[in-house]
């Protein structure tokens, strides 16, 4: 659970920076695009193993939890970057011109005119990506990070009742997903007053 939470926040920040990088042109954009494509075209489990064994072979002894957070962050940041890039690209050039003509600095322009409206537009896509991440975190049991799926595995290996253990697990994931969507919905209401006031998507 906190695995997914930490990875969501870190992945969102990293992914957004990456989306800005993608639009910057030049070497930075190429670097970001290689990263995004590399992650989006390999399985999560392979990425987790790569981080796990890669760090180990570098002599870094990190807990399975830290490795899992790292791997999930790297994974979700790439997807976030793509979603945010789409959001940024959907801002009409006239908006940027208007911001520039009001004398906004580059940072102010990015924050007020690009990032906030872009986030408002792609928020549903972001939210569902983060729920997906939470579900995908089950894979981390493979490197023996202590999360729900790993616990269910312990249970079924001691009780020899795998079906019951996993049906309970599935139920728990559904509850978590619904909870998480509710949290994102409330967060959306808090972050985007226009949605709240007008009740429209856009």
């Amino acid at each position: 659970m906190e695995l997914a939470g930490v990875a969501t926040v870190a992945g969102f920040v990293l992914g957004t920076l990456c989306a800005v990088g993608l639009r910057s042109g030049g070497g930075m954009a190429r670097l970001c695009s290689i990263y995004v494509e590399a992650i989006r075209n390999t399985p999560l489990l392979v990425q987790i193993f790569l981080v796990y064994f890669g760090l180990a072979s570098l002599g870094l002894r990190l807990s399975a939890f830290v490795v899992a957070v790292l791997a999930l962050t790297i994974n979700v940041a790439a997807y976030t970057a793509e979603i945010m890039r789409a959001g940024l690209d959907s801002i009409p050039p006239g908006q940027i011109e208007a911001g520039e003509c009001l004398g906004l600095s580059r940072v102010q322009l990015y924050w007020h005119v690009l990032l906030l409206p872009a986030m408002e537009r792609v928020y549903p896509a972001l939210a569902s990506q983060f729920v997906l991440l939470m579900l995908a975190s089950s894979v981390c049991s493979q490197i023996s990070a202590e999360e729900m799926t790993a616990v269910a595995n312990h249970v079924q290996s001691e009780t020899f009742r795998p079906f019951e253990a996993f049906i309970v697990l599935a139920g728990l994931y559904i509850v978590l997903s619904v909870l998480m969507r509710a949290v994102f919905w409330l967060l959306g209401l808090a972050l985007f007053p226009r949605r709240r006031r007008l009740g429209t998507a856009l």
């Binding site: 006239g94 908006q95 520039e100 009001l102 004398g103 102010q108 007020h112 005119v113 409206p117 408002e120």
Partner: protein
């Protein structure tokens, strides 16, 4: 109106988009408090000329000085220029996720660093000026096109610019909404604001212009008081005006 206190000065300005020559030696001087109106066919270079004044387009040759800023200067302080120049676009370009009041206070607070309270006070004043005092908390999509455009004018005015540029601001509006926007612009002109206006509204142009500029093929073909429209000297303006007349009676 004399030339001794120019706010905007274009001298022999050239600009091309690829092989297309858009501005072919344009010169224009706008004095403080003067209203210059640029007319001409689509593609005559009038919008480009206007956009060059706020350095939204970079010119190839010639010289532009706006409120003391030399635009061709390598050390030009672009943000300082844009605090002196207000521009209103055809497509309003209000920020959709902000209320009208937030649209207006954004730049004063983050660029000029005035306090939020003071910015709100200014917002109220400029909204009154454009007749939208009761729309401060509305979002742009809740407003009509004419109201959005007036809000955009208010947003520019809140930065207390020394010159206001208007780029075909009524082209997307029906006649009724056009009239309410033009009224705001006339009030603004009467208050002594220096303005450069690109428009297709001929009777408005004649009414409001201290200096009327007719552009054709990237050049200024005729310039003078608003009444030059009644007695065109060049065949191009004569032809342009006859098209306008046909359009009006059709």
């Amino acid at each position: 109106m004399t030339d001794k206190d120019p706010v905007v000065e274009l001298r022999d300005v050239h600009k091309s988009f690829g092989a297309l020559k858009v501005l072919d030696g344009v010169s224009l001087t706008v004095a403080r408090g003067e209203v210059a109106v640029i007319i001409g066919r689509s593609g005559s270079g009038k919008s480009t000329a206007l956009r060059c004044i706020d350095r939204l387009e970079v010119i190839d040759d010639g010289e532009i000085v706006v409120c003391g800023h030399r635009l061709t200067d390598a050390k030009l302080n672009l943000r300082a220029l844009r605090q002196d120049v207000g521009i209103v676009f055809q497509s309003y370009n209000l920020f959709p996720h902000l209320t009208v009041a937030q649209n207006i206070t954004l730049a004063p607070v983050s660029v000029k660093r005035v306090s939020r309270a003071e910015a709100l006070e200014t917002a109220q004043a400029v909204l009154r000026q454009v007749g939208l005092q009761d729309k401060a908390d509305a979002y742009p999509e809740q407003l009509s096109g004419g109201q959005q455009q007036r809000a955009a004018i208010a947003r520019s005015l809140a930065m207390k610019p020394k010159v206001m540029l208007f780029d075909e601001v009524t082209s997307a509006l029906d006649p009724e909404l056009t009239a309410e926007v033009l009224r705001v612009m006339e009030d603004l002109a009467a208050s002594g604001m220096t303005m450069v206006v690109v428009t297709h509204e001929m009777s408005f142009a004649r009414r409001i212009a201290d200096q009327l500029v007719f552009m054709h093929g990237g050049r200024v073909r005729e310039t003078g008081p608003g009444d030059i429209l009644l007695d065109p000297q060049t065949p191009e303006l004569r032809q342009f005006m006859s098209h306008e007349l046909h359009a009006a009676t059709r």
